[in-house]
Amino acid sequence: MTTFSEKRNIKLALVVDDSVMQCKVLSVLLKEEGYRVFTANDGARGVAMYVKYKPDLVLMDINMPIMNGYEAARKIKGLSHEHSLCPLIFITSMDTDQAFIESIDAGGDGILVRPFSPNVFKAKIKSIQRISDLYGQVKTLQQAQQKDAELAEQLMSGVIEARNFSRDRIGIIRQAAELFSGDIQLTALAPNGDVNVMLGDFTGHGLRSSIGAIPLAETFRAMTKKGFSLLEIITQINHQLYDLLPADLFLGAGFVSISTHNASMYGFNAGLPDGYLFSELGDIKYRLSSTHPPLGVLPKLLPDSQLTVVSIAETDRMILISDGIVEARNEQGEMFEFERFEKTAKQGVLEGSVCKVMQKTVNQFCKDMPQEDDISLIDIPCGGWEQLLIGSHDFENIPDQLLGDTCINTRPAWHWQLSLSGKRLGLLNPIPMAMSQINEIEGHADHWQSLYTVLTELFMNSLDHGVLGLSSDLKASAEGFAEYFKEREERLRKLEDGFVELQLSHHLVPNGGRVIIKIKDSGQGFDIKNYYKNRVVDSSQKLKFSGRGIDLVEQLCDSLDYQENGTVVEASYVWTS
């Protein structure tokens, strides 16, 4: 369907010449070519006729009273709409270089020097009309393309931005150099309450650079939702982009996971400028520097890839940027650079609005300079992410007696188990698998969120303290926590034997059910008595980096029981519909 160029069967021509005789001669020739012709005898009148009739072709004499041909041509070219090239030909008897040059300078598309034969004239008209038609076609195509691109962009930002988590609290600047941004900003909530954030910058900008965005967004969201760890998500995204994209198209990306539960930020920077952790006073507490080539370059992440762990305070802010901000140029060709960025970010943190302050400052700096690259920033508050978890105690409408009897006397509605040992235990995270089973059998529901937390805490305890033999004493301080995390990665990598066995049994009761979780590990056993003893002593301390896991599980479950010298843990989680 042609939306823009209305096809008129009869083309209109305007002849501007002070000689009535000339006008007549040209009119006859044009009519023979199928044109309807209007005439004007001076430049000013010619311009007025042009405005009135919007012709498809203008023939212009040069020497005329009131307004000469050059001036009239300039006026007409200034009026003609961008999308319709109205070809203008000068007709003159001045056979000089000067006349030719001035004609083209004035906006003429050609010049015909008298005397000429009717056939030469008609040939010239045909050739100029051909160019004009081509111009029209290009313009139509360009408009169609623009429309398609706008639609695609709308869909894309619908898929990407609209599904972001907490758009009200996480500030995002997204200023594309072209219609399509090669930058992508994603935020998603993990089942354990961690907030995962990614800022990506695909090579180049425009449509070509945004084709990887949709699969990337899907992977990031789906894996976060299923509870995969940040490094697992990054590994998968890298692999996916390597498979999908050509060699020269890749993704510089910064990843951050804010864990309120661990009072930590986990970060990974693959090819983006430094990310910044700011205190509430705007001081830089940490720089998240790039430690890995962009994603999609290598088939696998480099073997020493690991997340950085940084302790955070609730009032801190983590900021990720793409190179568009620091490389933005002003009229003098200077770049915005890191120094200005840091100063502006500090001001933004103090004023409580990093995005607004940054955007204003960068735009003031660049003034009217065209934007060369996509500009983006994500500003993530480190606190305020505590969630309301639904625990067993909230379900008091199921009589204990009924629950107990059900579990002892009947077969479970279903039973699921998985035993992982050796290297596979070091590589695989069974919790997303367990959750995906539950979601498949029982459907998605909010109370499974809490079960996820219970499973994660208990499994991590068995793996860390049981199989890997890590002492939680390490987690006593903020620095120790990072140390603990590093040691854990190291031991996981070297894991050769040891096992964790995970069992889930689901018993149904009217209006709800009970999930029995049983986890057995190959470790020395968890000393629960000692744990309770120490907890009484510790409770006076304000900030604890360990032991919160068990507290949480206790809150969420209606029973928690350690057996076989602490190598087996059994917990019961109750839900109602």
Binding site: D201, T203, G204, A247, D248, L249, F250, G252, A270, G271, L272, P273, S290, T291, H292, P293, P294, V297, L298, L302, D323, D373
Partner: protein
């Protein structure tokens, strides 16, 4: 802005020098400079001494050259990046992928 190519007498070393801004506008020239070099074991040296700026599409072009070189058992070396260009290579951690001589 230009791409200059120099081949050593024995044909084993190809030096590609970039002048000015190293960005997408050099795409075709850069590709042309090595597309016909298909002998085994050639060393491609990208000389960035006079490159004033480099963007991510330039990084992409270098990766394409790396693919080309490696498919002919050759290699790519980047030499003399300026401070600002080196910063970009550093952010992209390109020293983990190929040799960079300052």
């Amino acid at each position: 802005m230009s791409v200059k190519k120099q081949v050593s007498d024995n044909g084993e070393n190809i030096e590609i020098s970039i002048d000015g801004r190293f960005d997408f506008s050099l795409h075709q020239h850069f590709r042309d400079s090595y597309a016909n070099c298909k002998e085994k074991g050639q060393v491609f040296t990208i000389n960035l001494a006079t490159a004033s700026y480099m963007d991510s599409s330039a990084l992409g072009m270098i990766l394409l050259l790396k693919d080309h070189a490696e498919s002919h058992s050759g290699k790519v070396v980047i030499v003399k990046p300026s401070e600002s260009v080196n910063k970009i290579l550093e952010i992209a951690q390109f020293h983990r992928l190929l040799t960079i001589e300052r």
